[in-house]
């Protein structure tokens, strides 16, 4: 199924750095979840993070928009270093969209209201303008006809596409995807991946935590493999899949590719 995805052209990347993580450590109590994470992401770059569950993939990307605190190291997002200042965190979150495994749409609002909410309340756009923009993005994820429905009336794949549209309505510079297809029925995975590919074609900076290796192969500039809180391997997909270095990566790949 992922083979049918079209390949976005790999445009040359600019040298502008969008995300810089330096020596990030995080503990949950005594449990060391992230161990010295170093990661630099350039503008327009697309990164796929994979690894076994509990390896710290989600935690890593959740640190980028500060949904998780970290105890040491530093993260610079779009030129701003994350601090404890609430206003500054909100500032950065405006520029960083996030798509969750369980969609997290707001069930008491219609699809259109879900999308227009943040532009109205955070960007202070007039309602008309925000709704027009929301419709535009709903068209882009190919579900404008569902705009007046409530999330509970949509299929999982449709809900996830609404979630993507909702993030895009904030015109983010970076999109984070936290296992966007893991909670979906198999026949709905493709529609979501297709939407993500379109996004990639437009040059969005993306970090995706996913097990969709087909997506990684066709879309990613780099694939990162994490295990027990560490980045084990970091390579362009063609090398990552054909010529992995570490034994741990090889074992992981053999488990997810041949079953």
């Amino acid at each position: 199924m992922p083979d049918s995805l079209s390949t976005p052209a790999h445009k040359p990347l600019s040298n502008e750095i969008m995300i810089q993580m330096e020596g990030v450590h995080k503990w949950y109590g005594a449990f060391h979840v992230l161990k010295n994470i170093n990661l630099t992401v350039q503008k327009g770059e697309r990164i796929v993070i994979c690894g076994p569950s509990g390896s710290g993939k989600s935690t890593t990307i959740r640190c980028i928009n500060r949904l998780e605190e970290y105890q040491s190291g530093r993260i610079v997002v779009s030129g701003q270093e994350l601090s404890n200042d609430v206003k500054q965190i909100e500032q950065i979150r405006r520029e960083v969209g996030m798509v969750f495994q369980h969609f997290n749409l707001f069930p008491h609002l219609t699809v259109l209201e879900n999308c227009a909410l943040a532009p109205i309340w955070v960007r202070k756009l007039p309602r008309k303008q925000a709704e027009a923009m929301a419709m535009q993005y709903l068209e882009r994820v190919k579900i404008p006809e569902q705009a007046r429905k409530y999330p509970g009336q949509l299929s999982g794949g449709q809900q996830q596409r609404v979630a993507i549209a909702r993030s895009l309505c904030m015109n983010p510079k970076i999109m984070l995807f936290d296992e966007p297809t893991s909670a979906l029925d198999p026949e709905m995975i493709k529609e979501v991946l297709d939407t993500m590919v379109t996004l990639a074609e437009d040059g969005m900076t993306m970090i995706c935590v996913t097990h969709e290796m087909g997506f990684a192969k066709t879309v990613a500039h780099r694939v990162i493999f994490m295990d027990s809180g560490e980045i084990i391997e970091e390579k362009p997909p063609e090398q990552f899949f054909t010529n992995p270095e570490s034994e741990r990566t090889k074992l992981f790949l053999s488990q997810i590719l041949h079953h």
Partner: protein
């Protein structure tokens, strides 16, 4: 290609499962135990209902204006209620000023009516509701209390009857809900000082009986006040009841807040919404909707608890009826008085219950995520 599948035609259902007979079988005679219970219930109705109806309706006395019109023949004396009706509604509010209360009631009914009309858009309802909440108490207060715009002053000690009950209940509800919401949010706050403050407040007020609160407000509080400073007794009772009910409300709302998945808050945060916007736009609308039954439960309890103000000498509906039953001219009609009181309380509480029911249905947009 195989032949197209033709489904069998639908057969009519067995006669015993539909219509009146089906309903009876399903609901009243579905098992031996149910059959016994049904027969028992019918027997109880048969023995209890006729005497009750005889007392309430058939043998009851409706017309007249003194107790001589109510011979003791096993019927209720509704004359007692009729004669005292005005007093039950207004307490000792001066006769010639009662039009002010009626005006306030009419204003309330007219201005609140659109809230209950289904075709009015939600946004207008919201605005109207909020402005009513802000403006109506002022209008009502000016009308009731007077002393402004050429209206004669009517001291709060003269307010009474159903009017007083509704004032206490209305103020209690409209003040306790927002305060309860703030307390609930505070209790779940990340800031230890705010959290401790809210927990202490809630646990203190939940831990004392309302009667104690009312006693304290009316007897003890004046002792701590400097000489010459005195609060209105009604105001003190209102504050006591509000704080007391807010503590209960806080716990009800907290139940709702805890039912909202963390993902909702994270999604709001990821969009750049701050704490108050996240709470106001995402969490509270869902949480409050979930706990409508609990909120209304607290409202109903509050409504009935207003009758406790009788112990500090306020003449609410309950107390004024009680007062009338001790009137030497009308001794012996306390049953009628209390039945009437119960009916009035029931009417209000039941309406609240039905309204909350319809609200729940209307706001249901599916809790699937």
């Amino acid at each position: 290609m195989a032949e197209a599948h033709i489904p069998h035609p639908d057969l009519p259902p067995p006669v015993s499962t539909i219509g009146v007979i089906g309903w009876l079988r399903r609901n009243l005679f579905s098992s031996p135990l149910n059959i016994v219970l049904t027969i028992l219930a019918v027997y109880l109705l048969y023995t209890a209902l006729p005497p009750l109806l005889r007392w309430v309706l058939w043998n009851a006395h409706w017309s007249g204006d003194n107790r001589a019109d109510c011979p003791a023949d096993g019927g209720a004396c509704w004359v007692f209620i009729r004669v005292h009706f005005e007093q039950f509604m207004y307490g000792f509010y001066p006769d010639d000023q009662r039009w002010r209360v009626k005006t306030a009631l009419v204003v309330l009914i007219l201005s609140a009516a659109p809230l209950f009309i289904r075709s009015v858009p939600g946004k207008i309802k919201m605005r109207l509701g909020l402005s009513l909440l802000a403006i109506y108490p002022v209008i009502a207060f000016v009308l009731f209390k007077g002393g402004l715009l050429g209206l004669a002053t009517v001291e709060t000690s003269k307010w009474g009857g159903l009017l007083l009950t509704l004032v206490i209940a209305g103020v209690g509800m409209t003040a306790a809900l927002p305060l309860g919401v703030l307390l609930a949010l505070g209790r779940r706050s990340q800031m230890p000082a705010i959290q401790t403050l809210c927990v202490t407040f809630i646990e203190f007020w939940r831990g004392v009986p309302l009667i104690t609160v009312l006693f304290m407000s009316s007897v003890m509080l004046p002792l701590f006040m400097p000489a010459g400073v005195s609060f209105d007794k009604l105001l003190r009772a209102l504050i006591g009841i509000t704080l007391f009910q807010a503590a209960y409300m806080a716990e009800v709302v907290r139940g709702g807040l805890q039912a909202i998945p963390k993902g909702q808050i994270e999604a709001a945060a990821a969009l750049g919404l701050g704490y108050w916007k996240t709470m106001g736009l995402i969490v509270l609308p869902q949480a409050l909707k979930l706990v409508i039954p609990g909120i209304v439960n607290t409202f109903i309890a509050l409504f009935k608890d207003t009758s406790l103000v009788l112990i500090i000498g306020l003449f609410d509906l309950m107390n004024i009826v009680h007062n009338a039953t001790t009137n030497p001219d009308w001794l012996g009609f306390s049953t009628e008085g209390y039945v009437f009181t119960a009916a009035v309380y029931w009417l209000f509480c039941f309406s609240m219950s039905r309204y909350s029911h319809s609200l729940e249905k209307r706001l249901h947009t599916g809790h699937k995520r």
